[in-house]
Symmetry: C2
Subunit: 236 residues, 2 copies
């Protein structure tokens, strides 16, 4: 959450990503160029560039001449995202040779922050830290490329969790993080990898599948309209 190093320019895309990671922006949210330009006191050009960057990273998508929207991953895409995370995090834990003690210390400190956020009432910070743990771990373990990829996947995962009403508990997640770091510190990398797979599996298992082929799902449910009526299974 702290990008205040060396008077870093608070990039627009960074702010949007952070908001997504904190759960303040949910899937399907519309992001108007002019609105954002006004908000950030800049021109549409800069905003547009930021949105293009986010599109390339798979965070938003554009509907031509209609607007920018935060992605709404389908159930299949959600599963693919989780598989991708599994692949990356499992591999990094299995491949790494030794874990410097400084890395362990940093991760433990991160977990401390997680606990503090969970104890507090800042839901956004909690969501952010819980996701950021994985990114920090991969980066600390020495692969920046995978860390960058995982960062985007984490944003996707946060959106997915909100979209498919994750029931996984924050405290539980944090405990699992703790165990992984413990195994890492003990040098038992295989067990750490196995725990990581289980952890990600737990989060994924907490999702509830819904009829994602129906773009009117939310509205239909809110209005209590039976799917037997007209408008069922419209083209996506």
């Amino acid at each position: 959450m702290d990008h205040s190093v060396l008077s870093a320019p608070p990039a627009i895309d960074r702010i949007i990503i952070d908001a997504i990671l904190a759960g303040r922006i949910s899937a399907g949210t519309r992001l108007g160029e002019q609105s954002l330009a006004t908000l950030f006191a800049t021109s549409r050009t800069s905003v547009r560039e930021a949105l293009i960057r986010l599109e390339a990273r798979g965070i938003v998508h554009i509907s031509p001449r209609r607007g920018w929207f935060v992605i709404e991953p389908s159930w299949e895409e959600a599963q693919e995202a989780f598989q991708a995370r599994c692949a990356i995090e499992m591999d990094i834990l299995r491949t790494v040779a030794t874990v410097p003690s400084a890395t362990i210390a940093a991760l433990r400190d991160h977990i401390r922050q997680e606990r503090a956020a969970i104890a507090g009432d800042d839901v956004g910070l909690r969501s952010y830290l819980l996701g950021d743990f994985h990114v920090c771990m991969v980066e600390a373990l020495g692969n920046r490329i995978l860390a960058d990829i995982l960062r985007d996947l984490t944003a996707r995962t946060v959106l997915i969790s909100a979209l498919y009403q994750s029931t996984h508990d924050a405290t539980e997640s944090c405990n699992e993080h703790q165990q992984i770091v413990d195994d890492l510190a003990a040098g038992d990398l295989d067990r750490a990898a196995a725990l990581m797979v289980a952890h990600i599996g737990n989060v994924e298992a907490g999702l509830t599948k819904r009829i994602d082929t129906d773009p009117l799902f939310d509205l239909r449910q809110a209005l209590r309209i039976e799917p037997t009526r007209a408008g069922t299974n419209p083209p996506r």
Copy 2:
């Protein structure tokens, strides 16, 4: 190489990526906005958007007020890229349940094209197909997200191969692809995964490390200047 489906707009970034994949653009190449705009008969705006997309995908980078350049991965980044590829391709092979016969057929056809390109003299097409095989495989095996990620990694890898003077033979690569598909067809996924890891390892082993911390390496070598002279180890 064929993006002629439904009169698809030949996007600028796509063309640039294809050129990189074919080895026609090498690491460090400067990509001027105005030059590209003239070449594509469009304005700088569109070019700039394409370059921003490529930047987000890690293919080019920008030096403020100086210009856009194709990335020149360091030796460490090269290793990270290969590790990332390994992670993804190994995982997809280990995770997939069953491989449809249509998929096998498509991959075999792809290999046929590879052989044809190797027999012919189109070095660009050869390079493109050899890299594209992996992307096609992951996509055919059902994970679009990983396929997209791998596509970018493949571009990186092609640049790396040229930069670090890969000695790996095209025919050899193609044979290894063949073996992998054979194992896939036989249902021996574990062996396919192992072969894939070996295959990627072979390519990586064919690279020759060079002093990549020295931005003057090429010039220095061309001029036969000993590193003991002035200008050694300049700041990056």
